[in-house]
Amino acid sequence: MAATPLIRIEHLTKRFGGFTAVEQVSLDIMEGEFFALLGPSGCGKTTLLRMLAGLELPSEGRILIDGQDMSSVPPNRRPVNMVFQSYAVFPHMSVKANVAYGLKIAGVPEPERTDRVMEALALVRLEGMADRKPDQLSGGQRQRVALARALIKRPRVLLLDEPLSALDAKLRETMRFELTRIQETVGVTFVMVTHDQDEALAMASRCALMNRGALQQVATPSDLYEYPNNRFVADFIGSVNLFEGRLVVDEPDHAVIASDQLGARIFVDHGVTGATDATVWAGLRPEKVEMAHLNGAAPPARVGVPEGHNLVRGTIRRGAYLGSETVYDVALESGAEMRVLRSNVTRYVDREFAEGDAVWLSWAPRSPAVLLS
């Protein structure tokens, strides 16, 4: 039995004039999740978040929180609090007054109020800053104030709008861990909007990827990466080599794709359940492609892979050294290009491959992702 979701979003649509920002989104979010809404800018993720907060109202569809319809509940009565992208820390109030604001509105009496403020400040590690004014704080500290201010209300859901986008790279790293730690400490459900896939993959327990207002895929970070639903997902998360082809064999335990673009047949170890002859796409992650020098003979076929499948020849066009790894662009005989990633397990000076080298590229039958759209 699946538990009842904390948040249930049903056929949610939001239009601004003639523009549809969010289209027919249905989604369940469970209690205690760290959920990420991911997508390129303008994909509707922020609008979706603002609808959860009650700052925008849906054109169609509804939002249930704890089974209750929120459609006509104004933002100040929702069990939801938000950390704004700009933090929206009130500049005319001290840190303490900012954090206490929600409790003051709710009429929480004095000794308890101060206790909870101190507790919240301790949670975000701002104990000594209670009497400071926001303009005496750094960007990261202001964000912590916003976080404490939202969490002190003990919301059912905490909404975070691009929480790391305004921080510099180093601080972003720290805040990532901080946010995860705080979420684990308080156990509140977090819903975060981000355009940064690394952020989503590193922090979220589950992600929803959106594009042009529509949901593309909802999955755990690893599933999103390893089992993308379609070309958009495969391409947005990480980098991928995409080859168009025709499904020629589709059995329960294996399938074969003939790709003129690649100039080879692709063998996968699972069925695709698409009609044979259908156009499909094979997605190959650069780190899942193996590269070997072309010394005359082809490398031996892999176990379970028919002769001549999952194997192409090419020439290294260029290599880009990135420190921990090197990215090679290999020109295939078909004219297409394949990106290949190699970890620099030894010092780069001892490099194995150079530009201009002729190479074999091969991959395991379980590596390609077969995409129907």
């Binding site: 907060a53 700052l55 938000m82 929206a88 009130f90 916003a146």
Partner: protein, 298 residues
């Protein structure tokens, strides 16, 4: 970077010279003469001897004139308050209107501001007088009630014109755009996520206005209040045309000293008292604004 004037004496003289000269001769000199007159007394019909007397200022303290000062301050304050009450929701609506509507609304607010003050005051007279539009419409309604059989006496027009009510109404009418525009500017600068954060944290709209919007927009609101208060305090035309015998404001008294009573030294003293009051209002606003800025630490 600004240039030191000594490094370019000739361009400096050419640029600052003419306006500086104009301001000195045609503004400061006249003001200085009035100031000097305020310490003088009339000799005969036309001559004024500057004797250094403070009699004119002493006369300002006379209850008759003091009353007028107090009344002028009260009328200006009431006008400003009414403009704020009327103008705030209007400015709020303009701030959150879609771009096209916003441009039109701003236009609509500004157009009366560009329209001749006398024309606007005259338009208001036509509305308010005994035979004016308001009284005529009320009279029709009254006659209608009488025709329906209610035993009522003949319609007595409401005294809407030539009284204090008309003066305040007229000042509000004339000055409202002065307040709406700065109020709009202040609200428009406000970061909307501040309002959203307050709503999100459980505050209602009125509470958000009181705790977040008004404090954050306060510098703009204060300068708007000042822009309304100062002209209202020194208003001449509105009390003159719309007011009754007891609606005199400072400016009307000053005018009388210069044009009819021919007591220029006393008029000069009154003028400078009015000017000092204006300066006090400006300084007050500046001090409050600076203190707030200091407290915010920005």
């Amino acid at each position: 970077m600004e240039q030191e004037w000594r490094q370019a004496k000739r361009p400096f003289a050419a640029i600052i010279g003419p306006p500086g000269f104009w301001l000195a001769l045609f503004f400061l000199v006249p003001l200085a003469i009035v100031w000097a007159y305020s310490f003088g007394r009339t000799l005969g019909l036309t001559d004024i001897a500057i004797t250094g007397t403070l009699d004119n200022y002493a006369r300002v303290m006379d209850p008759v004139y003091l009353d007028i000062f107090v009344k002028s301050l009260g009328v200006a304050a009431l006008t400003t308050l009414l403009c704020l009450i009327i103008g705030f929701p209007v400015a709020l609506a303009i701030t959150f209107a879609p771009p096209r509507a916003k441009a039109w609304l701003l236009m609509l607010v500004m157009l009366p501001f560009w329209t001749n003050l006398l024309v606007r005051t005259y338009a208001l007279m036509a509305v308010l007088r005994n035979e004016g539009y308001v009284n005529t419409v009320l009279g029709w309604g009254w006659d209608g009630l009488r025709a329906m059989g209610l035993s009522l006496s003949a319609f007595q027009p409401l005294p809407l014109l030539h009284n204090n009510f008309a003066v305040v109404l007229g000042l509000v009418y004339v000055n409202l755009p002065f307040l709406i525009l700065p109020l709009y500017a202040a609200l428009d600068r406000l970061d909307r996520s501040m309002i959203e954060a307050s709503l999100d944290l459980g505050a209602g709209h009125l509470r958000t206005m009181r705790e977040i919007v008004v404090p954050l927009a306060l510098p703009g609101i204060l300068s708007g209040l000042l822009i309304t208060f100062v002209p209202a305090l020194g208003a001449y035309l509105t009390p003159d045309l719309l007011g009754g015998p007891d609606s005199q404001m400072i400016a009307n008294v000053i005018e009388r000293q210069f044009k009819r009573a021919n007591d220029w030294p006393f008029g000069a003293a009154l003028s400078f008292m009015l000017m000092y009051l204006t300066f006090i209002a400006i300084a007050g606003q500046a001090i409050v604004a600076r203190r707030r800025r200091a407290r915010a630490g920005a």
